[in-house]
Symmetry: C2
Subunit: 628 residues, 2 copies
């Protein structure tokens, strides 16, 4: 639908609520999807069936564009706005385009940051649906995650209470194995047709998982910013409530299950991934041969099937629309610092068959989201990106150049509101290092300058010159926030041109490298650290995971997005530092090794005045108020 623009630009929610939307069925039809290919979720959202991948497999694939950014200020540099804006720009110049973005977490939506549907005249709508529950995918991830957590504590409590014979009888009342149990038999190398055939040793190996409470790495999750749950003690109140142990909560979007959902290619793949999730290890000793500890999986707990059942609808991407009515998939999770932070492979794959240009977004700076897009997501998808759009603002570059601190709600310093080529020049290396990094992957790069009213032509020209010297195809200013698709037309033209350039896509590291070699490759090539230091705990985990045969997995680094380094206060392009790896986790279901750089919180907190303070509902009209 053509959008009537107003000047000055109203608030995001005012624009979103004033927009005339197309019925989502029409959006679906516009890309060749029929009623049978989708499940409507009200009038403005639809789940798209996975079998459309098969249905359209002979169609040519569209061009594949990844939007990423420089190291952001705490205000953000408008990456989602640009992602949607470049899509609206492509739509404006007459291209068939599909946008793939991630569903925001309700933690930040009600906490510090507000929603994430874009902004101004570059939005995915309706913004309330986008920011609130959407179609329940994150809740489904939470339900599956917490079901596994309950299964772990329940199993430990029951094993502490019952004899092996009792456990065997309770688990196999009809003297029959479930398919899940037969998988465990196979893993243990035990041949057995029915439980009553087992000798005592094999019965114990089979039915007593002997989970080490101190080695359980599976925490619980909730989609609320709740700092009080970061570290908790559970199982209090008596033996009926389980074993007392320390654990904690992460934000749901950081769940391994969210990553598995994003990284999988179909339902069968998801089922396998759920079974492979390692929740911890068995205790040393006991009947285990030579005191070796055994990784315990969701399959061993007989719960991977039920988890997959809980996720079967979440696996389908959610179709929505941009303000001018072009199609958008909203699927899987954000948080590219503590998670993989890219939208799903399945959404991208479907979109590539339905449009000529697919614009997908990687979270936070290119050292976080784009590195994972290239080394991790593309490894599992087999898809090759045709272009990287690297978003920057002149304000952020000046900040990286040493400009005064930028604080939300306070007036900007004069350094940011008048031309200052010297300060900009000082900050440019941050952009240029990201350009260099993107170029290392062999993909053409377009720099997108997200326009603020104080930016001058000379400043823009300086960025273009330096970016092109460093290997970028182009650097283009856009103004999609104020002008929608029209404001993104020039950027869209540059992207179209870049997509025609030669492409030499490659990963930065090979599967065969050791875990440490992979970490060190990223640290050197992307972050530009002098080296890597490991805590004894990290060393032990790397040895454990290598012994378990997991070193072939790619990495998902957990690192702050506010610096190339692990220290959020180091702006620009830090040099002469070493990367500390404090811990390493194995997310085998998601399909990666997860090294933690420095201190990383996997559960956000709330500020003194959370965003929810302004949110309410008009009880007469049902309209949401104050969502930002």
């Amino acid at each position: 639908m053509p959008v009537k623009r107003v000047d000055p630009v109203p608030s995001d929610i005012e624009i979103a609520q004033a927009a005339e939307l197309l019925p989502i069925m029409e959006v679906a039809q516009s890309v060749g999807l029929s009623e049978d290919d989708i499940d409507l979720q009200g009038k403005w959202k639809a789940k798209v069936h996975l079998d459309v991948i098969e249905k359209f497999k002979d169609r040519p694939s569209g061009k594949y564009i990844d939007v990423t950014a420089i190291t952001p200020t705490p205000l953000g540099e408008g990456k989602t706005v640009t992602t949607i804006g470049v899509s609206q720009g492509l739509h404006y110049i007459g291209k068939k385009v599909f946008t793939c973005i991630r569903q925001p977490s309700q933690g930040p939506t009600f906490g510090i940051k507000g929603g994430a549907a874009g902004g101004g005249y570059a939005q995915v709508v309706p913004m309330e649906d986008f920011n609130l529950h959407l179609t329940g995918d994150i809740h489904a991830v939470g339900a599956a995650h917490n079901l596994l957590a309950a299964a772990i504590d329940n199993r430990m409590a029951k094993e502490a209470r019952w004899s092996t014979n009792f456990l065997a009888k309770a688990l196999c009342p009809d003297d029959e194995y479930t398919p899940s149990m037969r998988r465990r038999l196979e893993k243990l190398g035990i041949e057995s047709a029915k439980p009553s055939d087992l000798n005592d040793d094999d019965k114990e190996r089979m039915f007593r998982l002997n989970i080490d409470p101190d080695a359980v790495q599976w925490r619980r999750v909730v989609d609320v910013s709740d700092a009080a749950l970061r570290s908790i003690t559970i199982g209090l109140g008596g033996a009926g409530n389980g074993l007392v142990r320390e654990t904690g909560y992460d934000i749901t979007v950081a769940s391994e299950i969210m990553a598995a959902l994003a990284m999988c290619n179909d339902l069968a793949d998801l089922r396998e991934r759920m079974g492979r999730i390692i929740i911890g290890t068995s205790k040393k000793g006991g009947l285990r041969s030579a005191g070796r500890i055994e990784p315990i999986t969701a399959e061993d707990l007989n719960v991977a099937g039920a988890m997959t059942v809980l996720l079967k609808d979440a696996l389908m991407p959610n179709l929505m629309q941009t303000l001018p009515g072009s199609p958008a998939f909203v699927h899987c999770g954000p948080f590219a610092n503590i998670a993989q932070g890219n939208s799903s492979i399945i959404a991208d794959k479907i979109a590539l068959k339905l449009a000529d240009y697919v614009v997908t977004e990687s979270g936070f700076g290119a050292d976080c989201g784009m590195e994972k897009f290239m080394n991790l997501k593309s490894r599992y998808s087999g898809l090759v990106p045709d272009c990287v759009v690297l978003v920057c603002t002149i304000r952020a570059l000046k900040m990286h150049g040493g400009g005064p601190k930028v604080v939300a709600g306070k007036p900007l310093d004069k350094a940011y509101t008048s031309e200052n080529l010297e300060l900009l020049e000082k900050g440019l290396p941050n952009l240029l290092q990201h350009v260099e990094n993107a170029v290392k992957f062999g993909v053409p790069v377009v720099v997108a300058i997200n326009r603020f009213k104080y930016d001058t032509d000379a400043e823009i020209e300086l960025i273009r010159k330096r970016a092109q010297e460093t290997g970028a195809e182009d650097a283009v200013m856009h103004n999609v926030w104020a002008k929608g698709g029209e404001g993104g037309a020039a950027l869209a033209e540059a992207v179209v041109a870049a997509c025609e350039k030669p492409n030499n896509f490659k990963f930065l590291y090979s599967d065969e490298m050791s875990i440490k070699e992979k970490i060190e490759t990223i640290a050197r090539e992307i972050y530009r650290a002098d080296g890597v230091d490991y805590t004894p705990e990290a060393e032990a985990k790397i040895k454990l995971f290598t012994d378990m045969g997991l070193s072939h997995l790619p990495l998902c680094m957990a690192k702050t997005h506010l610096s190339f380094s692990h220290d959020p206060t180091l702006k620009g392009t830090p040099r002469g530092w070493r990367l500390p790896i404090t811990d390493v986790r194995a997310s085998v279901g998601a399909g990666f090794i997860f090294p933690l750089c420095g201190t990383m919180k996997t559960m956000p907190g709330l500020p003194t005045r959370p965003v929810f303070t302004d949110i309410d509902i008009d009880v007469e009209t049902g309209k949401v108020l104050g969502l930002s």
Copy 2:
């Protein structure tokens, strides 16, 4: 759609997956709803807009039938099967009927009990949707509940850290009050146009809630049976994570918010209820006048608006269908032992305008769900029930008469598989006490005998004779499990006849009675206790809530469903016992006082072999396997 029945009766999921469903749009149209009145949720579910109540307000209301049961065995007596079956029976004899049932919790679905979509040829379909997420209402309740929990701990942590002046500035950065803050000003009796006008004392009263950590009654919730979370310590790991305190998790369906959703009449009502939720009290002393403690509400925490926003879709009932295609609403929560356990007022109200007969279900035995249906739900709805259907099985009555223990998975004792009038006669008083109780509310009662193959004509005749002597209109056997609507036709005829009988509906207690008088009325009239004993804690809470002006509220008793008494081992009709009230909570948002009888767990646990052990997905077809 006509259902092709097979003998022997296949499993529930086989029947459900073989059923030919009507597109839910057709079901909607069959009761006069248009496309604009609903939001499709895929092809088999739809949310119905609340404004249809206004649209159809001039239509006559249908007959209102509450289905309840005797004190059940652990196997359940087929109350949901009968609820759906009597509906299918009414449909079969040509009546326009609507069924209103509750959404099951995923805790039992994956834990002990399995799903709750009915069974055999009396089901609401698709059963996978019914049992899994449905449209996300329970998740929305959890999100709103846990957002409030995070707001509480965040506020306590921030108040512990900051001066009152800092808090005031952080909460009102523009020196302006939000609407929510103005409500608090009014409650405190402070007149103020803007924060900077406040004197120091008023500023402290306004911005420092001074929550007593030991008096926080708001726990957290999750829709998983997770015993390890019943009692936990949070806020560990340093001051940045909040204050260390003990708390715990309840199952989501026991949330006060679920009850508020069920008890409210519209969006405005829900918004007010969210604001009224009392999370605990302030500490004694400080600036509070004369050391009085103040109840702290969700409104005081400025989060009630955001909570309502999270619930705006959950407020709409979910339209589904029975096997023969008659309409069914699935809305709000189960657990009539630890919650109100009835489907929503809004669903019933809409259904009454769309059909001539509305069959709604109250959870567990009539001492639990029906008592709350009458005294609590009908008080808030203003609706008058026309008939009570009281479900029993001959097996359960024999158990109440002293028959051998009934254990799932073990063959039934001969006492249950052959005619035994003596044992039945001994167990009948349980049924008759429930009949007497229903009659006390002035509503005609029909006893529904859920048929098992061993039941004999003489046994049925004995039940009918005794039930009618005690005041029931009729007692009718049905066989809806094996025969669907046809098997419920005779029961449906009896219900139609009962609905024409005179109706003298009345509550058992008045608003004006004290909290203790209300408790004692229920204990005496329904449970038949000799008296009530209160722990010192319960006494103190009753005094506190009375002082707060809350004694006008009706009650929602938390009591085991396995006995008329608080002791689940006392079967039949216990006499000569006293009811212990161990604690009392005030659920002001839901609109009731919540007395706990004996030891009540508000979070179920898992058995050694949880139901999830059998659940999996066919990765080729996407079909759910093993859901029961």
